[in-house]
């Protein structure tokens, strides 16, 4: 696709690689910051996952087992918040930091110091969120969607900490997004035209616009929650002329684009991996770009599909149903293009490809259940049951998380310069694949049979299924420890050194710099033909 004409001249004008703790605290290097983001996300994934384990342990049997209902609600809420804002989003930002400059021939992100700031405020934001769990009355217990008035009049005082920590997460994402946009717009190497950019760059570019459009809205709505709870306003209280449903409209105006924020970069990762291991160019490059843009645009007009049961006027329900259904079309285009890329390729099954294939199948299953949820009359039955939980874990865990894992296995040799332990990686894949389905597939049935979500205890008919779900959950959790071991090993550079290309069929600028990628990649703009 693109070739790097100019060879690097490696006269060392740059400051030497800093050492010690200052290297990480003060860093302006996109690779260091990418690494920080990725490790942070992984740690958050473990913490959020540990909370999921609490949920699954409680739900292992009917009856109250190990936690109080109030604490259970805190676990559900903080699990959702941590996974969404602490694991998936930072992981993608980490991949963006590492790969975008490499892919477009830029020396670094456009605004490196702001890049450092946007990373370092994140751990603090989550520190505050986690601290609130230890306050009197506990942390947030109103679901990650913090519907008013449960989060206002009826919440604990730690809500103030929750609000400010969400503000900080928002600031971080906005700065990260600005950096991505400016980098892509302004730092592309000569010859790297828009339609030559790898799809990962494109999907992130579009994602970044979604981010700066909706994160401020989230900041606005948490601010209103703060004033409603602590300063006597009544935005979400009918007694003063407001409406609790207004909260949901503003929240989902953010919340729906947010779920695409978590999947568009995943599409980019998959679009990089599938061609490499099919040894064939990506099918329908430009239609992929347009499809991504259409998904992003449509995502602004579908938010109320989360609110079908709130009693909207019928024409509203119809409008949101139709728009939501439409999203299947561009998403389908993506799936079809991947299949067409594999079609008559020369396919091999390295670990990134295994995860990518699992992604395509399982994400599509999640997409199908999404489409079912979009059908309003049917959603009246599905809404707020485990069917929804099944839907979004398929798109998020086997979607977003699998793509992040796939991307890590794809680029890890480039980052470390050594090939990771492939046996461990395969074990990780097979354990994950089996357990994740045992974990999330039965949730469909439990939901259809009528089990509501966000409950610590359930009627006895659901007992057997929940037991299997929990076993799947523990198994999936343990499987991730394999990943942890593998990553630690790889970061300590235990493994066979790899060459520049790493994968036989890989194309793109990142495969033309040495492995590991040097601390400062491009001194001068490389020329792209």
């Amino acid at each position: 696709m693109t070739t790097l004409v100019q060879e690097q001249d490696d006269h060392d004008e740059h400051h030497a690689i800093p050492t010690g703790i200052k290297r990480w605290l003060y860093t302006t290097n996109h690779k260091d910051i990418g690494t920080l983001y990725l490790w942070f996300a992984f740690i958050m994934f473990l913490i959020g996952g540990a909370m999921a384990m609490v949920i699954r342990a409680e739900l292992f049997q009917p009856g109250l087992q190990i936690v109080e209902p109030h604490f259970f609600n805190q676990m559900t809420t903080v699990h959702g918040l941590i996974m969404v804002f602490g694991a998936v989003m930072p992981a993608f930002t980490g991949l963006a930091n590492w790969m975008i400059p490499l892919m477009i021939g830029a020396p670094d992100m456009a605004l490196p110091r702001m890049n450092n700031l946007s990373f370092w405020i994140l751990p603090f934001a989550f520190l505050i969120l986690l601290m609130s769990l230890f306050m009197e009355g506990g942390g947030p217990a109103f679901g990650w969607t913090f519907y008013a008035p449960l989060s206002t009049t009826y919440s604990g005082d730690s809500t103030a900490l929750f609000v400010f920590s969400v503000h900080i997460m928002g600031i971080s994402s906005i700065m990260g997004a600005i950096n991505v946009i400016v980098t892509i717009w302004n730092m592309r190497a000569p010859g790297m035209t828009w339609m030559k950019m790898p799809l990962f760059v494109w999907t992130w570019f579009i994602t970044a616009f979604l981010l700066i459009a909706v994160m401020p809205v989230l900041a606005g709505v948490v601010t209103m929650v703060l004033t409603d709870k602590f300063f006597g306003t009544s935005f979400f209280d009918a007694a003063g002329g407001g409406d609790p449903v207004m909260f949901q409209h503003i929240f989902w105006f953010f919340g729906h684009p947010e779920v695409y924020i978590m999947i568009l970069p995943a599409f980019g990762v998959i679009s990089a991996i599938v061609p490499t291991f099919s040894r064939k160019k990506l099918f329908g490059y430009s239609s992929m770009v347009y499809a991504t843009a259409s998904i992003a645009l449509l995502s602004f007009v579908v938010w109320a599909h989360h609110m079908f049961t709130t009693g909207m006027p019928v024409f509203g329900e119809l409008f949101f149903m139709y728009c939501t259904m439409l999203i299947s079309v561009p998403t389908g285009v993506k799936v079809f293009n991947w299949v067409a890329t594999m079609w008559r390729g020369s396919i091999s099954y390295e670990v990134p490809m295994l995860f990518a294939i699992a992604f395509i199948i399982l994400f599509t299953i999640g997409g199908f259940s999404g489409l079912m949820l979009a059908i309003t009359p049917a959603d009246f039955q599905y809404h707020d049951t485990y069917f929804v939980v099944a839907h979004f874990h398929y798109v998020l865990v086997t979607g977003a998380i699998f793509s992040i894992i796939a991307g890590t296995y794809y680029w890890l040799p480039k980052w470390t310069g050594v090939m990771y332990d492939v046996t461990l990686a395969r074990a990780h894949f097979w354990c994950s694949l089996i357990s994740v389905n045992l974990l999330f597939f039965p949730m469909h049935f439990v939901g259809l049979a009528g089990m509501p979500r966000r409950i610590p205890d359930y009627s006895i008919q659901f007992a057997d299924f929940n037991q299997w779900i929990s076993i799947g959950g523990f198994a999936f959790g343990l499987s991730q420890l394999i990943f942890l071991a593998l990553l630690i090993k790889a970061c300590r550079k235990k493994g066979k050194p790899v060459d520049t290309q790493v994968w036989e069929g890989a194309e793109g600028l990142e495969w033309q710099v040495p492995s590991p990628a040097p601390y400062h990649t491009f001194d001068k703009p490389p020329e792209i033909k």
């Binding site: 200052k22 370092w120 459009a213 809205v217 300063f231 935005f235 207004m246």
Partner: protein, 293 residues
């Protein structure tokens, strides 16, 4: 994409971001505990102290960061590409601010067009009115809420109108200050910039008067129902932005007086002026939708 410099510029490491991150942490933690503790017992406790330390350290961080930035810029270390990056960054930052205000405008429109009429029985809400709020009458501004809290509406004449004119005038003065900078007419630049700052301060002063009037004489408070809520949140957040903008301009004024900026190198000035124009446009929206209609 055209005039690429033949060499990339990568800024060196800096301690300021991490200082900034830590001070934001202090602010959030301090503000959170202050609010929570006041709610519990009326006494902010240690939260207040953390908050104040946080604010001071953020100011120090900004001072340090910008000082370094100015130094580097003045010593000609930056290239054109970096300048473009800054400009684009500023534009998208302003865009995100626009979206922030959109959330509050959204709340205003939702209340006016949907929730208040619904409470009065509009659309499919006949029963809402009949069963829950039979005495409620729909009017906007909502001077009597469903639960009976009464207040008065803020007219658009008087202070708000004067404030509108002041902000409009400040945009004009700032524009010509910029023209002055580009034509290297330093006196025009200094005087008009100073005038803009003065307008900003007067605007803020008048807004404080307006708030005092509303609280003391009109019974229009932050908690007087959705009308007061939207009024204070929109004008309040706008006021905070005017404050930031004015501070920003004051720094620019000081730098201008020290002889900084040249016709072709004045990113900070440009950013300040974009920001100011944005604040101005938001006010126009506010004036129309909060005060007039």
């Amino acid at each position: 994409m055209s005039n690429h410099s033949d060499k990339y510029y990568v800024p060196a490491q800096s301690p300021w971001p991490i200082v900034g991150a830590f001070s934001l942490f202090l602010i959030a933690l301090g503000a959170g505990t202050t609010v929570a503790k006041i709610h519990q017992s009326g006494d902010p406790g240690w939260g207040k102290i953390v908050l104040i330390i946080g604010i001071i350290s953020v100011l120090l961080m900004m001072f340090g960061w910008f000082r370094d930035q100015v130094k580097e810029s003045m010593s000609g270390m930056y290239n054109a590409q970096l300048g473009r990056s800054y400009r684009q960054g500023m534009i998208w930052f302003i865009f995100s601010e626009v979206m922030f205000f959109c959330a509050f405008f959204g709340a205003l429109f939702y209340a006016r067009i949907l929730s208040v009429p619904w409470l009065g029985g509009a659309d499919n809400n006949a029963m809402t009115h009949e069963v829950l709020w039979p005495a409620f009458e729909v009017i906007w501004p909502l001077i009597k809420t469903p639960d009976g809290t009464e207040t008065t509406a803020m007219g658009w004449g008087g202070l708000p109108l004067i404030n509108t004119l002041i902000l409009l005038a400040s945009s004009v003065t700032l524009h010509y200050a910029h023209v002055g900078l580009e034509k290297n007419k330093r006196t025009q630049l200094t005087l008009l910039l100073a005038a803009t700052v003065a307008f900003g301060c007067v605007f803020l002063g008048l807004q404080v008067l307006e708030y005092m009037h509303a609280y003391q004489d009109m019974d229009l408070k932050l908690d007087s129902g959705i009308y007061g809520n939207t009024f204070y949140l929109l004008t309040g957040f706008h006021g905070m932005h005017v404050t930031m903008g004015t501070l920003f301009l004051i720094v620019m004024l000081l730098r201008v007086m020290k002889g900084h900026f040249s016709p072709d190198n004045h990113f900070a000035f440009q950013a300040a002026s974009w920001y100011w124009h944005f604040v101005d446009v938001v006010w126009l929206g506010l004036f129309i939708f909060v005060y007039i209609i």
